[in-house]
């Protein structure tokens, strides 16, 4: 009995703070998104969401965000997987290289912004801003994924590869039957992380393009930020709840895939 109390007492500060700053705000968000009114709020159901989908800027932001995700996430996963595989073949100096690749993720954006403005300033006002943002994202985060893939690849015992070679497997065969099943769970993680980091790229877009950047990099968070000034709580809450919903469903889908893959490999 006393043991349990100590446990509760230890965990309470964090749980309280977490609830106060994360859970309750999320609940308030959900309530704001389904209600309307200044002062006294009334339940309006899904009206806010319907209004949101008729908003041109929101649709633009949504389209841009999905375009960014659809292009950058697979690219970064494939690139980092390839580089992790290549790194594995020269394991002697891989530590230094891995460290170097990881460094851009830690660099403060403030330091990069000036540089990007100097080199690519004129492109930032045109549709090429999207390309700049993609490149920034790839540069910043590929080292992170290389690290994770590399750590997982190291766990594959090389006896598997030797066996395969003795049995005459080609390079592609070895990859498909040995490497891929091993790193399959990690790919799911990496996808979730890549999506998370892609949303963080809003910082670069904001600092480079300002509050109203060029059309091609106007992301969801820009939309939310701009309506902040108008105190248009409904729109912000609806957009944020939509984001929450996207994330939940993406995580659930990936978790579902993972469970199915596990079950299939156990059979």
């Amino acid at each position: 009995m006393r043991k349990k109390l100590t446990g509760y007492a230890l965990a309470v500060p964090m749980i309280l703070g977490f609830t106060l700053f994360y859970v309750i705000p999320a609940c308030i968000m959900v309530w704001y998104s389904i209600s309307f009114g200044i002062g006294k709020r009334e339940y309006v159901g899904l009206d806010n969401f319907m209004e949101l989908f008729e908003n041109e800027m929101f649709l633009l932001a949504l389209k841009n965000t999905f375009r960014f995700l659809a292009i950058c996430v697979p690219t970064i996963i494939i690139i980092s997987l390839v580089i992790a595989l290549l790194l594995q073949k020269i394991s002697k100096h891989s530590m230094v290289l891995k460290t170097v690749y990881f460094y851009p993720m830690l660099m403060p954006i403030a330091s990069i912004v000036l540089l990007v403005r100097t080199i690519w300033g004129e492109h930032l006002q045109s549709t090429k801003a999207f390309v700049v943002l993609c490149l920034l994202y790839l540069w910043k985060f590929f080292g992170y994924h290389v690290l994770i893939f590399f750590a997982r690849l190291q766990m594959i015992p090389c006896t598997y590869y030797d066996c395969a070679e003795l049995n005459g497997a080609s390079g592609w065969g070895k990859f498909r039957y040995i490497t891929l099943p091993f790193i399959f769970p990690v790919i799911g993680f990496n996808v979730v992380l890549a999506i998370m980091n892609a949303f963080k790229c809003y910082r670069e877009a904001f600092l480079l393009g300002g509050e109203y950047p060029d059309e091609s990099i106007y992301l969801l968070q820009h939309f939310i930020n701009n309506h902040f000034q108008n105190l248009n709580y409904q729109r912000i809450s609806a957009a944020a709840v939509l984001m929450l919903f996207i994330f939940c469903s993406a995580s659930l889908i990936i978790w579902g895939f993972y469970k199915i893959a596990r079950r299939m490999s156990n059979e």
Partner: protein, 258 residues
């Protein structure tokens, strides 16, 4: 793998590394006066004659250190509580924490703003400290790490009469020293780079931490801007050089564990 292939591979990977580092090298070059005359003038300005930048630097450093320390301590205690004591609802709480870990900040930004406004904390640095100290990442990660520690150590200690504090300080913390350091570093870097919270919660540009101030400031001289960029880069780079193994191994282990 033939020697020639291996050499090509090495050249490719090393040139990739050079491309990755080139922005920083470029910035260092620019900070010394890119117009042709190599001078320390910009450094002189930033470090000696205009104290504003350095003041911001030290204040941001203090803020990031406080956030990192707070998060590490709190996560350590909480992870220990989750792991050691059988409480109902731990799994549910952990699931919720994992969900919030991957959400972007915008989801909770507005209500946080309203809440902090209600508490009259808006223009102070408490708004940056508090939500970040209670960030769920540390607790979740340390809970998973603690799962790898055998229970017997803690049970043996309690049988010998150790109280909670002793068990925590003398047994658990030394065993997870490396992940704790990694958590501190990650937390520090995250708070050093934070952009959305200062812009939303702080209304005066004067009180922005360094990460945001550099971009908002009206400085025409490119060289001075580069030096400020370097200034912003220094703590992270130093920490990285000194602790790069903890960073790399910590992150790799976190995901190789599953």
């Amino acid at each position: 793998m033939s020697r020639k292939d291996s050499v090509f591979l090495k050249i490719f990977l090393i040139s990739l590394a050079i491309i990755v580092i080139s922005p920083i090298v470029h910035m260092i070059w620019m900070s010394f006066g890119a117009e042709g005359d190599f001078s320390f003038q910009a450094y002189y300005r930033v470090f000696l004659t205009e104290p504003g930048y350095l003041v911001k630097f030290w204040r941001s450093l203090l803020l990031s250190t406080l956030i990192a320390l707070g998060q590490t301590l709190l996560s350590c205690i909480t992870a220990f509580a989750f792991k050691n004591y059988k409480m109902r609802g731990t799994k549910v709480i952990l699931c919720i924490m994992v969900l919030f870990m991957i959400l972007p900040i915008q989801v909770t930004l507005l209500p946080n703003y309203l809440l902090l406004n209600y508490l009259n904390l808006l223009n102070t640095w408490w708004t940056l400290l508090l939500p970040n100290i209670f960030a769920p990442f540390g607790a979740v990660w340390l809970t998973f790490i603690l799962m790898t520690i055998p229970k017997e150590y803690i049970e043996a200690a309690s049988l010998d009469g150790a109280g909670v504090v002793t068990v925590l300080c003398r047994i658990v913390v030394p065993m997870i020293k490396a992940p704790l350091v990694t958590l501190f570093l990650i937390s520090f870097v995250d708070s050093w780079n934070m952009v959305e919270q200062p812009i939303t919660f702080l209304q005066e540009a004067r009180s922005y931490p360094l990460s945001v101030f550099l971009v908002i400031m009206n400085e025409q001289n490119v060289t001075t801007q580069s030096v400020c960029g370097m200034l912003c880069l220094i703590p992270v780079t130093l920490l990285f050089f000194y602790y790069h193994e903890e960073f790399v191994d910590g992150i790799a282990d976190a995901f190789a564990l599953h």
